[in-house]
């Protein structure tokens, strides 16, 4: 089956959960990445129960900050 991840087509042998997809694709910062499945953001608590199917579009959206945490004067 084909899943489009961040705009690129990827081939997988079998259906899997969002959580399994995260692990299989070795996504960076798995604990913090936002996952959008077919234009809908998935709640983290549903990662293990929601399946990713043939033809689905998945976006991994990453926190992007810049400098770093700092003390406010």
């Amino acid at each position: 089956m084909i899943i489009t991840i961040n705009g690129k087509q990827n081939s997988f042998e079998a259906e899997m959960s969002v959580q399994e997809l995260l692990e299989k694709t070795e996504v960076d910062m798995q604990e913090y990445v936002t996952v959008q499945l077919n234009d809908e953001i998935i709640s983290r608590k549903d990662f293990s129960s929601i399946p990713v199917r043939d033809g689905d579009r998945v976006e991994f959206l990453y926190y992007m900050g810049g400098g770093q945490y700092k003390k406010i004067a």
């Binding site: 992007m64 700092k70 004067a73």
Partner: protein
């Protein structure tokens, strides 16, 4: 407002644009944009907005210019090292364009001052040029509460992202990213580095959003997250939608007061080395 001959010449390339014209240039000169953070993103944004003749530009930053800033924060020069960034920024903008009233706020944005700063000149549009997540969430929440449009952006390594929030017209930052990540969970520019031009590309897009908003032309990045990968030279515009259950802009908001998330002073990185706070 009547244009002087000098203004007609200065803004002539705007004025001949059918989407700007004399009336659009007047909107820019009457426009008020607040830029929070005068670093990698805020520097180019402030310069283009100043050059464009945005009449009032507010700059918020408590930092002073550091030599390591100059690789990307092009509003500051070598002679400015040690000078408050807001002052250095004001000088650069006014050298370019004396039409601009630059208002400086030499302080960090916090829950205690951000609403007053935004209300100070009743800014039309806010640009998030900050380097850390607690303040990014603070700006989002303050703008949602005050119903002010703003542009979010972040940069790291060869990557950048930006989105625009318009009140009542699409998602806020918190619809996509629910809470700040724990300190040290996400790499920072000081740890991971950032290509100097990233701020230029993304900060200039933020300035373009502000200008389009003031003019009322074109489509903005509300409902989209624009990502830029400079290594692959790839832009992607990802559709994002408002979350009706969003904690701040949702139908039943649970966040009704501003939050100062704990700002851990990164004394220890995972590698255990000492790090000081830095602007992006």
């Amino acid at each position: 407002m009547k244009f002087t001959n000098e203004q007609l010449e200065r803004y002539s390339r705007h004025i001949i644009l059918s989407d700007v014209g004399v009336s659009g240039q007047k909107k820019l000169l009457n426009g008020k944009v607040l830029i929070i953070g005068t670093g990698g993103l805020g520097a180019p944004a402030a310069m283009y907005l100043g050059a464009a003749g945005v009449g009032t530009i507010g700059l918020v930053d408590a930092d002073s210019v550091d030599l390591s800033n100059l690789q990307r924060q092009i509003i500051h020069g070598t002679q400015d090292v040690g000078k408050p960034k807001v002052l250095s920024g004001k000088e650069t903008i006014n050298q370019m364009n004396p039409d601009v009233d630059v208002v400086t706020y030499h302080e960090y944005a916090t829950s205690a001052n951000i609403l007053d700063i935004i209300r100070d000149r009743d800014y039309d549009f806010i640009i998030d040029g900050t380097d850390n997540f607690p303040v990014k969430f603070l700006i989002n929440d303050a703008c949602v509460m005050l119903k002010k449009p703003f542009s979010h952006a972040g940069i790291i390594r060869f990557q950048g992202q930006t989105m625009t929030f318009l009140p009542g017209e699409g998602p806020c930052y918190r619809c996509v990213f629910k809470n700040p990540p724990p300190p040290d969970a996400v790499p920072t520019c000081q740890q991971a580095g950032v290509l100097g031009v990233m701020g230029g590309v993304i900060g200039t897009i933020q300035a373009a959003e502000a200008i389009k908003y003031l003019l009322g032309v074109g489509d903005l990045l509300n409902g989209s997250l624009l990502t830029y990968d400079a290594a692959k030279m790839e832009f992607r515009k990802i559709k994002i939608t408002r979350d009706p259950e969003c904690a701040v802009c949702g139908d039943h908001p649970t966040i009704t007061h501003l939050i100062d998330y704990e700002l851990k002073a990164c004394s220890f990185s995972p590698a255990g080395r000492h790090e000081e706070s830095k602007e992006i």
